[in-house]
Amino acid sequence: MTLAPALTDVHAIVDQVWTSFLGEVEPLLPADVAPGGPFPAGQAWSAAVSVSGGWDATVTVELSAALAVSLTTTMLGLEGPEAPDDADLADAVGELVNMVGGNLKSLMPGPSALSLPAVAAGRAAHASGATEIACFDGVWAGEPVRVTVHVVTDAPVDLLPQPIS
């Protein structure tokens, strides 16, 4: 049996990360999105971390390029005309998935190791054998963000029974 985090847990963790570093003025709202995703080709950033050990999974964050710029600007505290460069965007998006992945790891059976984030300008690609076990779609300031959890398994997937508070 493969254990999956409850969607409410994924949402709660994303919400905690978002509120802590981006503030509460603009809330992160859940969104209904088509399975293909809300991201225009070539206008997205993505980052992934893998968890291996007691729980094996890949946690991915995808977001629109406009949202990547907004969150990087906010996280770095940039003001005025100063705009983040690609290195800043990669850094911020990577840190986002690091926090979401680290917190999900803490929720699941361990011990497990968390990888360093891998970041790309573009959509995330998953191995053909990977199964999506959780997906949260949200909107912040009108721009989309998606958090997914994938495992590579043929076994049935069971939800983690206890949601976090």
């Binding site: 905690q16 990360v17 509120t19 802590s20 570093f21 990087t72 996280m75 770095l76 505290g77 800043d88 850094d91 911020a92 990577g94 840190e95 690091n98 926090m99 992945g101 680290g102 917190n103 790891k105 803490s106 361990g110 011990p111 968390l114 360093l116």
Partner: protein, 120 residues
């Protein structure tokens, strides 16, 4: 006081420094380190009063950095600021000699509580 902030993410180093200010600890000298190896070298050269370190970093991670510091005889106060706040990680951190572990995401209040005994 002098504080080393070690994290491979420049964004996170800036957030930690900003949060230190928000927690009322803005008057300290800050030295940034990009990974555990860099932190280890800067502890030797900068003689800080506190190290705030990420756990998961390239080159040398935070727990190995702390182990190397203690093995070298350094007793510099050391706290983790990491995305991994499980009980298992907290126990590993404490066993290695860390004073505290602040889990990301954090607030200025969390920083204030953790740092009050170290920085006053």
């Amino acid at each position: 006081m002098k504080i080393i902030v070690a994290d491979d993410s420049r964004v996170m180093r800036q957030i930690v420094i900003r949060t230190l200010r928000q927690a009322g600890h803005g008057g300290h000298e800050i030295v940034e380190a990009e990974n555990g190896r860099d932190c280890l070298e800067k502890v030797a050269t900068e003689q800080p009063d506190l190290v705030l370190s990420d756990w998961n970093m390239p080159e040398m991670n935070g727990i190995d950095c702390l182990g190397a510091l203690r093995a070298s005889g350094s007793q510099v106060p050391f706290g983790f600021v990491t995305s991994e706040g499980s009980e298992e990680m907290r126990q590993r951190a404490a066993a290695a000699g860390a004073l505290f572990l602040i889990a990301k995401p954090f607030t200025a209040e969390t920083f204030g509580d953790a740092l009050s005994e170290v920085l006053g």
